[in-house]
């Protein structure tokens, strides 16, 4: 038994779970010990995961079977995802030391965090369908409890999240039951279903919905913005931003390449989901006023790229999708951590009330800048490398995946709008002159445990972008892809970075030599609009502020623009929120049923007699026939 528990494939699951129990049971006075255990256990888990990945090099495969249910399988894909999970576990634990300091019930918090790490490792290692289902379902509970750490204001978001995620878990259960019935097998590596029967299509849809809901793709996305807004930001940085993407896309990759052979129609459907997710979510992100909610909509939007890549059905598309999953986790975690640092230091995440933090929080600013460029796909950062691979995948698939021009236009347009909304963030939070009330706050940079994970992830974005081929692609992504990857549009990250740097340097030189000396004064235009005095809360309009953009005003015009007005109005009515729409439909029927239950005894007696007559009539008819 002991030997089994210490097996290198079991240990990444059991170690964090046991450490979590220890954290939970420690007396409150030993909070230093608890902090050390939380960071230490997740760090050891990262080492264990790395050791497994290293052992796997050369295309190996490890399996472990203790009893029929406990059947684990480690291949390049699960190894890759597991390392990423453990990495984000360590960084989140470290970040939480600073961010969560001084809150209540921290023992529970670290326990949930460690359990999440362990259970996630289990979910990606599981080879038995039921084991996958168990781990998958337990992740829903830990997610619920972690969002619940946000206190009473997060309770609605926690409930909604768990209903959406739990519902998708139920579908996964149905999908597994069908797969088991059709093939008679419970081991994932023994199952491959083709779309020859309606039942198989249903199973495919069940698996896909489970994956998409976890990853937060539309139309199952609506929990992500709520959760991002209400949960503690360290939780947002860990779960919806990184871990749930890793798991959801992992399951999608397994579903598309392995468990099922998707048909043309289903792939087109998925491409449509991907393209719609990219576009719609980024449109929603553009008009948000809350930093957290804005970032959360981007966490939805970016899933679209991963779905597009994986659903394209080409090897390079899958490589791009997986690579984008990793990249997204890095920059989005970093961005949420930046938001957390801003919230902790400035006391708010409302874009209207922030400003001028670039000088006060330089490390956070630079990390945020790098991550923002990465998410917008600016070369030479990692976001560009993976988006570029996704584009190539879509082009290579061509008509195999439907109207590919539409997909690629949606993807590129989404990228541009992403940049636009991050310009808004950078401007509103860090660069613009702060509103009067913000000037009174004394803001300083956050402590080491908070800036280090943020900056580390920003640095990784740069490294993975410049050396994408030499580091992440060769070691992590390529072995995990099914099939041979050919990269037609090869992109040399390092030389391009040098050229870009040279370009920036040349620009600076020209600036220093000419314009800086004799500035030109002219009326302010922005996007063709003449600026008026900005409307800054708590301040009278004055001409002295007429050249300032409040950071949110400009983006408001989109909401009233002709083709989008209807879209935003519908979104405000929550017409795209599957949870809200579902609730409305459900309660229509519930009200009918409740109206029938009058509480009057004669009514109930009538039901009894009617039911009895029906049953007897049916039995006589069936027996006589």
């Amino acid at each position: 038994m002991m030997e089994m528990l210490l097996h290198p494939m079991i240990l990444p699951i059991t170690l964090p779970v046991v450490a979590g129990v220890v954290c939970l049971l420690l007396p409150r006075q030993l909070h230093k010990v608890r902090d050390i255990i939380a960071v230490g256990a997740s760090a050891v888990t990262l080492l264990l995961a790395l050791r497994l990945l290293v052992a796997l090099r050369g295309g190996g495969l490890y399996t472990f079977a203790a009893c029929p249910l406990v059947n684990l399988r480690l291949d390049a894909l699960s190894g890759f995802v597991m390392v990423a999970i453990a990495l984000f576990g360590v960084l989140s634990a470290l970040y939480s030391l600073g961010y969560m300091a001084g809150r209540e019930r921290l023992n529970e918090y670290y326990a949930y965090l460690l359990w999440t790490v362990g259970i996630s490792c289990g979910a990606v290692l599981a080879n038995h369908f039921l084991l996958l289902l168990i781990f998958w379902g337990m992740l829903g509970v830990t997610l619920y409890l972690m969002i619940g750490m946000g206190g009473s204001k997060a309770s609605a978001a926690a409930k909604k999240t768990f209903i959406v995620i739990g519902g998708s878990d139920c579908l996964l259960m149905l999908g597994i039951a069908i797969a088991w019935h059709v093939t008679g097998r419970m081991l994932m590596d023994e199952v491959t279903l083709t779309m020859t029967r309606k039942l198989n299509v249903l199973a495919f849809l069940c698996f896909t919905v489970a994956a998409l809901a976890k990853a937060g793709a539309m139309p199952f996305h609506s929990w992500v913005p709520d959760c991002g807004e209400k949960a503690p930001l360290s939780v947002s940085a860990f779960l919806p931003a990184s871990l749930d993407k890793l798991l959801g896309i992992y399951l999608l990759a397994r579903t598309m390449h392995g468990l099922f052979v998707a048909s043309y129609a289903l792939r087109v459907l998925l491409m449509l989901v991907g393209a719609a997710t990219v576009m719609c979510a980024v449109m929603m992100a553009l008009v948000q006023h809350d930093l957290r909610r804005l970032l959360a909509y981007h966490a939805v939007s970016q899933v679209g790229y991963m779905v597009l890549g994986i659903a394209s059905g080409t090897a390079i598309g899958m490589a791009g999708g997986l690579f984008h999953m990793l990249n997204h986790a890095m920059y989005k975690s970093s961005l949420f951590m930046c938001a957390g640092s801003v919230e902790r230091q400035a006391g708010t995440c409302d874009l209207d009330r922030l400003g001028g933090l670039g000088r006060a929080m330089p490390i956070t600013f630079v990390s945020c800048l790098v991550a923002a460029m990465a998410i917008s796909g600016v070369p030479p950062l990692n976001g560009f490398a993976s988006k570029w691979m996704v584009y190539q995948g879509i082009i290579e698939a061509g008509n195999q995946s439907g109207p590919w021009v539409i997909w690629i236009v949606a993807a590129m347009f989404g990228s541009a709008l992403t940049l636009a909304s991050f310009v808004k963030i950078l401007h509103a939070v860090f660069l613009r002159k702060p509103p009067a009330e913000a000037e009174r706050r004394n803001v300083s940079e956050v402590g080491f445990s908070m800036w280090f994970p943020t900056a580390f992830l920003g640095l990784m974005c740069l490294v993975f972008g410049v050396f994408w081929k030499r580091l992440p692609y060769t070691f992590l992504v390529e072995p995990a892809v099914v099939g041979e990857v050919t990269i037609p549009g090869l992109w040399w990250g390092a030389p391009a970075a040098l050229v870009l740097l040279a370009g920036i340097a040349a620009g600076l030189v020209i600036y220093a030599l000419t314009t800086a000396r004799k500035p030109r004064v002219c009326a302010t235009y922005i996007g063709g609009e003449l600026m008026e005095a900005a409307d800054i809360p708590g301040e009278a309009r004055s001409d002295s502020r007429d050249v300032e953009v409040s950071g949110v005003d400009f983006y408001r015009t989109i909401e009233t623009m002709a083709p989008f007005r209807g879209f935003y109005a519908a979104a405000r009515q929550k017409a795209f929120d599957i949870y809200d729409v579902g609730t409305k439909i459900l309660f229509y029927f519930v009200d009918i049923l409740r109206a029938a239950h009058t509480g009057l005894l004669p009514t109930y007696l009538t039901w009894l007699v009617a039911g009895m007559l029906f049953v007897v009539w049916w039995l006589v008819r069936a027996g006589g026939g």
Binding site: V141, S152, G167, A177, L601, Y604, G611
Partner: protein
Amino acid sequence: MMHLVPLFMAVPLAGAFLAALPNRRLPWLPDLLGNLAMTWLTVTALSMVGHSGLCAVGDWGYLGIVLRLDGLAVLMLIAINGIGLCATLFSVSYMDRYTARGRYYSLFLLMVAGMNGVVLTGDLFNLYVFMEIAAIASYALVAFGCQHEELEAAFKYAVLGSVASALILIAVAILYGLTGNLNMTAVAVRLAADTDQPATLLAVGLLLCGFALKAALVPFHAWLPDAHPSAPAPVSAMLSGVVIKALGIYVLCRLVFNVFGATAPLLLVLRTLGTVSMIVGVMLAIGQWDMKRLFAYHSISQIGYVALGIGLGTPLGIAGGLFHMVNHSVFKSLLFLNAGAVEYAAGTRDLKRLGGLRGQMPVTANTSLVASMSIAGIPPFNGFWSKLLIVMACIEAGQNWLAVAAIAVSLLTLASFLKVQRYAFFEAAKSALTGVKEVPVLMRTAMLILAALCILTSLAVLAGWREPLLIGWAADALRGGVFGGVQ
């Protein structure tokens, strides 16, 4: 072991008599008697695992009572008496709110005696008698608070229950007329030789409807949402946890599988009633704001799962249905005890007036989280396993739409229990609830035992994955068909 079997009725009957004796000197005596009796019954029920056989009480020809112990009966005995023990433990502190402790325990033990009798008897008329003992005791217990609402609920329960009992009695009379016998095995043998008579079908239909009312399957469910919330919490736990199963589902299974033979039309009726109950119950539950009423509607829905699983008639379906029945008795009684604890501490069970109890009542909050996750079918808790088995059995039997319905209901169950969690425990605390404290130790113990069982029963599945131990044995007793039971 067989000689101990009659004591399953005798001990609680004796306890009921002693507890009802007038006694002013020793106010704690009824508590002690109730708990001792239930402890003894639980231990004895557990020791019965693996035993089966017949026991004739009094050998007077027609008048003797034949008791029959098999896998299903043992499973039911363990559930009834185990849950009963937790309920009596909980009652010790909880019943401070009421007067007439002696009568409470007396009625409680009568109800237990009736249920044990129903489960053990091998005779149709005795079945009726024991059922009436349990049912009448439960009418009285529902009215125990003697307030306006309790009396109204008990009245409705009694009227509808009596109509059902009348149907059952008529059906027993018809069967006696047809076969000249009341012994279940003998009736089964005679019916197997001579099926499809209209009179038999009428008797079968009446029995099905009568026991469907006791099991609260839609459209015979209307009494339950009034009756279950009105009783004191430990009694609600018993009513929802075991009474609807022992008097309803258990007898339906016994009759369909071991007496009439599981024919396709009978199974279809069971399945249909189950599916409709499952859907209607959860839809009515989701809009409720009274904790106990919400739980009560869920009992209808969950009993629907059980009937659906058993109505599939396949080995996997029967095992899933029986397992869900056991699991439901664990988590549903825990939920009612949680509601009782909340009411005990906060003075209300209206979700709109509760909030923030997670900080003040950690044991209640966490045990109710466990129970909520169990009933919603979230792994690794027990409800997950039985729902999984039922869904797999539906797919295996080609009933894909029923599987989809089971999945959808599972989602709605989760939604309504998250509502309870949110409004009772997670939301901001109301100012009226500032002084609320955790409940006394015995109440906590009862809740902790049941919460532990929510996890332990699922470990039992893992341990015997291929051949679920107790459940498999109970399912065999049903699958044995007409002659397969203990002869």
